[in-house]
Symmetry: C3
Subunit: 259 residues, 3 copies
């Protein structure tokens, strides 16, 4: 039985880490299952947003190191399962739908690294983030060396990467890593509420935003500027654009169909 449970609820794909008896330690099988869930989210015509959360008091205390050691030692990175999308966003295409995450308690190593690939983030007040690798004689290889300095600021990130020390939910909020800090236990409903608001937004617009923002991030502002209007003719001619105008006139919330 897999420790990754997926549930479809409306337009949201929930991805639940469910191995609390081992503090949600990540196994290679769980990595595969999360990658496959992201692949399914990406391909679905109906799903609009992913929501990653974890069962139990802690999001995760880390990886199951003995099972990962041979993969690390081989020095080739993480193999992505057929039909899956790399959950660390290091190889291959990214999921074209946004992903929201809720974390609590320990959010160690890979927990920080998957969080860094998500688009909106909620943390419980008791969250402790840490990149512990330098205390174990190794180094992070799931993207934190790339993204933590970019998202938290160079010296904020190096302070934690180079010492292995933990930081709080408040510090994560202060430095821009998470958007909302809530009492423990409220992280899941708070993240779900955000996922619902994204799911209610125009899907063609949401997809175009992610695409443009990522292009600016990977290829720079000038390249992204040249592609800003690529999707505009199609989106302006969509049913949803008409519904947008109509709902505005009628002073009601729009109901979008993604076409």
């Amino acid at each position: 039985m897999s420790h990754i449970k997926t549930t479809i609820d409306g337009h949201v794909l929930e991805i639940r880490i469910d191995r609390p008896e081992k503090l949600n330690a990540l196994s290679p099988q769980m990595y595969d299952d999360i990658c496959l869930a992201l692949g399914a989210l990406d391909r679905s015509d109906d799903l609009r947003v992913g929501l990653i959360h974890a069962e139990g008091k802690h999001f995760s205390a880390g990886i199951e190191l003995d099972k990962w050691a041979p993969i690390f030692a081989a020095g080739k990175g993480f193999p992505i399962p057929e039909g899956g999308i790399d959950m660390f966003g290091l190889k291959g295409p990214r999921c074209r739908k946004p992903v929201v995450i809720a974390v609590q308690g320990y959010a160690y190593t890979w927990a920080v690294e998957i969080l860094l690939t998500t688009d909106v983030r909620v943390a419980a007040e008791d969250t402790q983030f840490a990149m512990l690798e330098v205390k174990r004689g190794i180094y992070p290889c799931g993207g934190a060396t790339l993204r933590l300095p970019q998202q938290m600021g160079w010296s904020n990130a190096q302070q934690y990467l180079l010492t292995g020390e933990a930081w709080s939910a408040a510090e994560a909020h202060r430095t821009g890593l998470v958007q909302k800090v809530v009492p423990p236990g409220e992280q899941y409903p708070a993240a779900r509420a955000i996922a619902d608001r994204i799911a209610a937004a125009a899907p063609l617009g949401v997809g175009a935003i992610l695409k443009s923002s990522r292009l600016a991030h990977t290829d720079g502002e000038a390249v992204a500027a040249r592609h800003l209007f690529d999707d505009m003719t199609r989106v302006m001619g969509s049913e949803d654009a008409q519904e947008g105008v109509r709902s505005f006139m009628e002073r009601r919330a729009a109901v979008f169909k993604g076409r």
Copy 2:
């Protein structure tokens, strides 16, 4: 009569959005007029800094969508008028002089996008920022998808871009989008005071800073590092550099001429 009023006062070019009866809705004509004002600022030997502000309770509730719809649908972006500089900084050269902005009340869609191109920013406490596009079935095409993630942090920006929800002046300050938050009505004098301080600084130095900072932003640190001294011989030999030393010795404020 144009809804964009320009005034020269000392070395400052004030650009005022003046259509409060329509909540300062941006028409294509107003876009052209702002572009032309930036072009004039760029070319002038005497003007040193621009100041964008808006008449009325709100900076702007958005664009005049019916007039823009055909331009959007054509999928070619915004045509820049002859002699103008793209006010969204997406095409063609940027204005070589710094621009300060003051916002208040509604600062929706294009208001956020022009703010993201400016160099120093003041917001009234009552400012509500929002990128509403995904609530209308479309997506932002004035640069917010490129610059909001870069300036506010990835997940801070996506939270607002992907939901269409508003954020406050306090949140804009916390996340680095604006430098100063003041009581409503004080945003214009506060921004003007900053513009005056920039106008009092050495113009050759100000120009060299903007050029170097932008080169680092577009081409990376290494390229900008190689060009750091390009203007130095000329600047070190300028009258203003001598005035800088002299005023320091005489313990008085320097008076710079830009040569």
Copy 3:
């Protein structure tokens, strides 16, 4: 006698600016000496981290302009002494060991610029940061135009670069420039404590983190992602990786050797 004092204490190389009678004004000779100290730190098998701090009430009031003027006017940048590493990180290779810095009182011009090259930073509450160049008729050429916008946010940085005005330790902390603000006099021990924690971390891991984070910064995420596992086989096979696992099992702090 040089105004730069270096001391080796454990695995830490302390680099002390020691010219308080001149408010630690930076001479070309002091620049050379700091570059040479960074070169020695880089080459040493035993040294793991550098710590830059300054004697007296102020970190530094600036540079000794009359001695630097001919170098600036030549327009070629700062010559790096044989065996040294550019302390402004503008030319040639960077030091492969992390550097921590402690600042207090005036931290003007070059003080900001060397701080921007360091990895973790402590400021005394009384620190006043400023880039004064535009008040003197010149512009910054030690990297602030490149790095201040990147590390503090575009408009936060331009506010100070374009006016020459000072900012506080609290503002530096709020905007991500420094990690810790302490009462005056405690900046050195606080920074030393951080340096000690980095020195206690696994040196191969620390080196791999800095290398990967810098590659992401200079060449982008995609390039850095492809090189994430370059050092992994070697690190996983190191004595320190074994010590990491053993110390974890034995519930004690690891003692790393850097091999």
